[in-house]
Amino acid sequence: MTEPQVRELFNQIADGEAGPSRVDTQLALRRGRARLRRRRVCLAGAPVVAAATVAIVALAVAASPVRPAGQAAAAGGGPAAPRQFNPLVASVTFGWLPAGESLLSGGITRTESYMDAGPIGPDWSLDVYARGQCHLTGSASGLNCPQSKLQFSQRAPDVAGHRAFWTGAGIAWQYARGGWAWLSIPVPNFSALRHDKDMQRKALKIARHVRYDATTPLMFPAQLSGLTSQWRIDNTYYEADPGLLRADQYMLTTGSSRFHPHVGDLGVWTDAPYIQVHPAPRDGTCTPHDPASENTSEIINGYRVVLKRMPIGGLPHQELCGAHADGLWFDIEEFGAHPSIDAASLFRQHLRLLGTNPANWTKNPIG
């Protein structure tokens, strides 16, 4: 006799006084977009190649940054966009933002540098692609970039002498030869943007002031050591702390790292530890009471850590978390049955936490 009562209860709740919705679709869209970009690091698709080769390329790229777009000639000429970005250095930055807005976070993959700005959550999002990553469609009515297909709504005023296009709620421009950038504008669509001259002006000013030759190193609150030269840092995600860019999440990859596109939302890498380290929030926790996983709590290097194991998408998954480690919260995740270095060993033998004082952090995450 309980079932009809339960049915009626549920219907009463559903039909009850809802009150005004606090759900914000645009916020969901912006956060989803930011998460997609953050997670897209795994979708770059380029196989991980030998570390030494890539390291040489990355250093070469860092040593010869592209000149600012404002100094470049017409779209077809001028200096070329970088073929790769260095994930340890933020070479692309906002040069101007509207009052009350500031850089919040960003990320760097080999092929893309992205960042979000806003007062609290992301309002403006900038994606800058390396050379050859984006291609005009056959009719030049749009732009195909990795994971993005931009449709041009209308020609926009040039950006620092380069062709530009409104793309719905955004503007795309060729910032250097072979390289495109795209700025997401906090309006719902092109109809709204077309009538909002102030927003157009702000977007153009942001676009025109983007710098492509910065050399701001990311600062890491932890350092790895004792690793073979095969290992390298990839796909960094940083947060803008006062006065510095703090590397918050990154991957450690090696030649045997492999991408599994059908696991999780956007795929995962095996044999590639995902590392997060940041100052511990006051209520930070590792929440060991998950009935679906095997949790063990132990002390490693003097820190209380929780090791959690559970399969995800058919892949073994291990996660080592420390909620209060000299003021830091850290988490190491790995997928796959036989990682080259398991999470516990990586933490025990190779990872050194550098505390909460940024003066002790490093720009060389592999020492």
Binding site: Q5, L9, F10, A14, V23, L29, G32, T167, T287
Partner: protein, 185 residues
Amino acid sequence: MSLSRDAEYCEYVAARMSSLRRLAAVLCDDWQRADDLVQATLIKLYVRWSRVRAADHPDAYARTVLVREFIQERRSLWVKRVSLVGRVSDSPAAAVDHDVVLDLRAAVAALPARQRATLVLRFYCDLNVDQCAEVLGCSPGTVKSQTARALGAVRRALGPGHDAGPGEPARRAGGDTTPTRSDRP
């Protein structure tokens, strides 16, 4: 991001917002928490939009994401939460005028998240056992056992004196006389 992707997503969300909120409210028994749940679900739907769009039944996909988010949110804090910054409304809770309803509501609220989700899928969304199993990612047998446990727990909590439904005579268990709702995700 592609314009068409964003436009499609916004159009879909606008059309389904009401039903998603109601389902979330039934799961959470709280409209404020329901909005948080929907907000988190919308972010996931955006990230997985290509899959939503390609799904045979996008509404069923969205419902699955929402229900799993509900269970996951309560199971683990390893997942980063989404918190809305908007002002919490002062709207009153749903009108309740009967002790039985209060007791029933408390009994259902005390159920573990997975059991509550099972009841919601069976008795609010009117899914059969197999459909329910698909949403929850478990076997039909587990759905049956979860349903039985949940209903048993509610019966025990209500005690022998609460057999009749609110405002209506008691029906026999298994009677399926409640009309279905056509606007559910």
